[in-house]
């Protein structure tokens, strides 16, 4: 009897120790959900970035159809991961658009730097009273820089269809 108590106590201690030592800091589900999100950090889902939205989905606070850039395929992927039923994109949060990147009309830019802090991926290059430009390869097309611009010199340009981006399709 005493021996058994001792063994259980030891096992209990071991479990407690393992819990402390091997605790996973990040919720793995949040990480998995976040990996399925497009990382545009555009905030169209009403959260301030992709990770907060992933956290909200994990906590069942947000639905899976609030991410317009992710589109239908993304909703299906989320539904498969979470064992939920796929549903159409909620139009309240916007529509899925063709991929585009921001472009600064350089002769109109006054160098006010107002567009630089909102950019979630530091894709805008510029300094006060200097002309700014967008690094197109880093831009996620989140459109967060459009509204802060006082002279409306930032436009969204659809990504040009080139032979390099071209994909085989059924009708060729």
């Amino acid at each position: 009897m005493l021996f058994l108590c001792l063994v259980f106590a030891l096992l209990g201690l071991l479990l407690g120790f393992a819990h402390k030592k091997l605790k996973i800091k990040n919720d793995p589900l949040v990480e998995q959900i976040n990996n399925l999100l497009p990382q545009t950090q555009c905030g169209q889902c009403n959260y301030i970035g992709c990770r907060p939205y992933a956290e909200a989905i994990a906590k069942n606070e947000a639905d899976i159809n609030q991410c317009p850039p992710n589109g239908e395929a993304g909703i299906i992927a989320l539904a498969n991961l979470l064992g939920k039923e796929a549903k159409p994109l909620n139009p309240e949060f916007g529509e899925q658009k063709a991929p585009a990147v921001a472009f600064i009309i350089e002769q109109d830019c006054i160098g006010c730097v107002k567009c630089i802090p909102p950019c979630p991926v530091d894709a805008i290059l510029g300094a006060a009273k200097q002309m700014h430009t967008v690094i197109a390869s880093e831009c996620t097309g989140c459109e967060l820089c459009i509204s802060p611009c006082p002279v409306d010199c930032i436009i969204m340009r659809p990504i040009e269809k080139t032979a390099n981006h071209w994909q085989w399709t059924q009708d060729v």
Partner: protein
């Protein structure tokens, strides 16, 4: 000894089909100089060149007009002398049928060339020097895939066997065969240079047994060297890299592995010839032999064409189209791509132009006969892959080794329901690679966003610390002032 070794291990690959040759081996004819040469700056996926000439510049034959932006890309040389008339968007030889930036060269008819820099004794030169020379000459694999040769010859891990691929197994194409008959000696020289660069102990030229003239020409030219000329059975696609290695050595390269990891390298025979020209004569790659053939052309023949020549000029040289000309294919009937117009120019990868009537046939549902699996040279299950790609199950496609499909088209030929299987595999492959690209882009954006968040947090913390410090100093000063008042 080696002879015995190879004969003993001689085997064949699974699958494959025997096709009608339709090969008309003519001597290589040279057409007149085209008025205009067109050079696309886009090579293949993710590989670009950058124009280094301006509109109005006068260039000579052999002059670099576009430079490589990485080792995976190769420079472009002018094939004749003349003036750069424009750099504009033109249709390019690509399955997309899209236009892309091209350098347009108006030839002046003089064909004056830059002075060549030959390197007579290549054995005295370092292997790096020779690789650089090959890269600067703009040489790519001329079998159709156009992979940069210098990159392929980088020589690590160690290569024990160099295979010069002269199998040319696809019907209609006969450019390599006619080149082997006409320039066997030069090909042997080029092969020796490549063997020297790789330090490979063995060099084999593999040629189909249906090409006796070319076989004899090569055999005669190679008699004083260690190069082996080996006949391979005429089964399509024996010219595939892995298939050829299996036929020659009996060794099967596993799926998703590359042949150089196992000590083999395959080079096309025309590439060998280009290496000879680049190293021993100092001439960059500006011309290639191309087969113009099919029921839609009046006089099928092999042509020594300048790279950049518009296809319509070659058609004119072949006496024009017949009434059967309905589609234009670059490459052979099995693996070629349809081109939208004959305004498009010949590129380094163009080994054949096939002008054919369209053979339309109604697609029937799959009856699961399994014939496609029997002929697949990569030992895949085309029928299973077809279902997975149709239902967009990309993960399953990858698990069933879709990446190993060489798009040879054997399954298309034997399918009794006439299902365009290769087409659906191409769609699946490009979708999978697109998804990979998007995932990479998302990972990059995520990392940049997280870095920014961390930076903002750090700045906040630093501000807070600074504020604390200031508060403390103010407190101190206040206390000191109070002390002074008291005193």
């Amino acid at each position: 000894m080696f002879n015995f070794f190879w004969r003993k291990k001689k085997s064949t690959f699974t699958g494959g089909i025997i096709l009608d040759g339709h090969k008309q081996v003519t001597k290589i004819n040279t057409p007149q100089l085209p008025k205009e040469l067109i050079y696309p700056l886009f090579l293949t996926s993710d590989r670009y060149t950058k124009a280094c000439v301006k509109v109005g510049d006068y260039v000579k034959k052999g002059q670099v007009i576009a430079i490589a932006d990485s080792l995976l890309s190769t420079p472009i040389h002018a094939a004749s002398s003349g003036i750069i008339s424009s750099i504009e968007k033109r249709l390019i030889a690509h399955p997309s049928g899209l236009a892309d930036d091209c350098i347009i060269l108006q030839t002046d008819g003089l064909d004056s060339a830059l002075e060549a820099e030959p390197c007579l004794d290549y054995r005295q030169q370092s292997r790096d020097f020779l690789r650089k020379k090959i890269h600067q000459a703009g040489i790519v694999g001329l079998g159709g895939a156009a992979f940069p040769t210098a990159k392929k010859l980088s020589g690590s891990p160690a290569i024990h066997t160099l295979i010069i691929n002269a199998a040319e197994c696809e019907p209609y194409i006969s450019c390599d065969e006619s080149l082997a008959i006409a320039s066997a000696k030069e090909i042997i020289q080029g092969s020796l240079i490549i063997q020297h660069i790789l330090q490979a102990s063995l060099c084999i030229i593999a040629i189909e047994d249906s090409k006796p003239d070319a076989y004899l020409a090569l055999l005669f030219a190679a008699k004083e060297t260690d190069i082996k000329i080996q006949k391979v059975p005429s089964i399509y696609p024996t010219g595939g890299e892995k298939q050829l290695i299996q036929v020659l050595s009996g060794e099967q390269i596993p799926p998703q592995k590359l042949v150089f990891e196992y000590g083999y390298i395959c080079q096309n025979i025309a590439t060998s010839f280009a290496v000879y020209q680049a190293v021993l004569l100092g001439i960059p790659l500006t011309e290639r032999v191309i087969t113009v053939t099919g029921a839609g052309i009046k006089q099928a023949q092999n042509i020594q064409a300048k790279i950049g020549t518009p296809i319509k000029d070659l058609v004119q040289f072949c006496q024009g189209y017949t009434e059967h000309a309905q589609q234009l294919i670059m490459g052979g009937p099995m693996m070629g791509i349809a081109l939208a117009s004959d305004e498009i120019a010949v590129i380094k990868a163009s080994n054949c132009l096939l002008i054919e009537p369209i053979k339309a046939s109604a697609i029937q549902p799959c009856i699961r006969c399994g014939d496609c699996a029997k002929v697949c040279p990569s030992e895949l299950l085309p029928q299973q892959l077809y279902w997975y790609s149709r239902s967009q199950q990309w993960d399953n496609c990858t698990d069933y080794n879709l990446a190993d499909c060489i798009e040879c088209g054997c399954c298309d030929v034997v399918c009794p329901s006439k299902i365009p299987l290769v087409q659906s595999f191409r769609i699946a492959k490009s979708e999978i690679s697109q998804q990979q690209k998007q995932a990479e882009q998302a990972a990059l954006a995520k990392k940049r966003f997280e870095n920014q968040q961390q930076r903002k947090l750090r700045i906040e913390q630093e501000k807070a610390v600074l504020l604390e410090k200031r508060k403390a100093t103010i407190e101190k000063m206040k206390a000191a002032a109070a002390q002074r008042k008291l005193n």
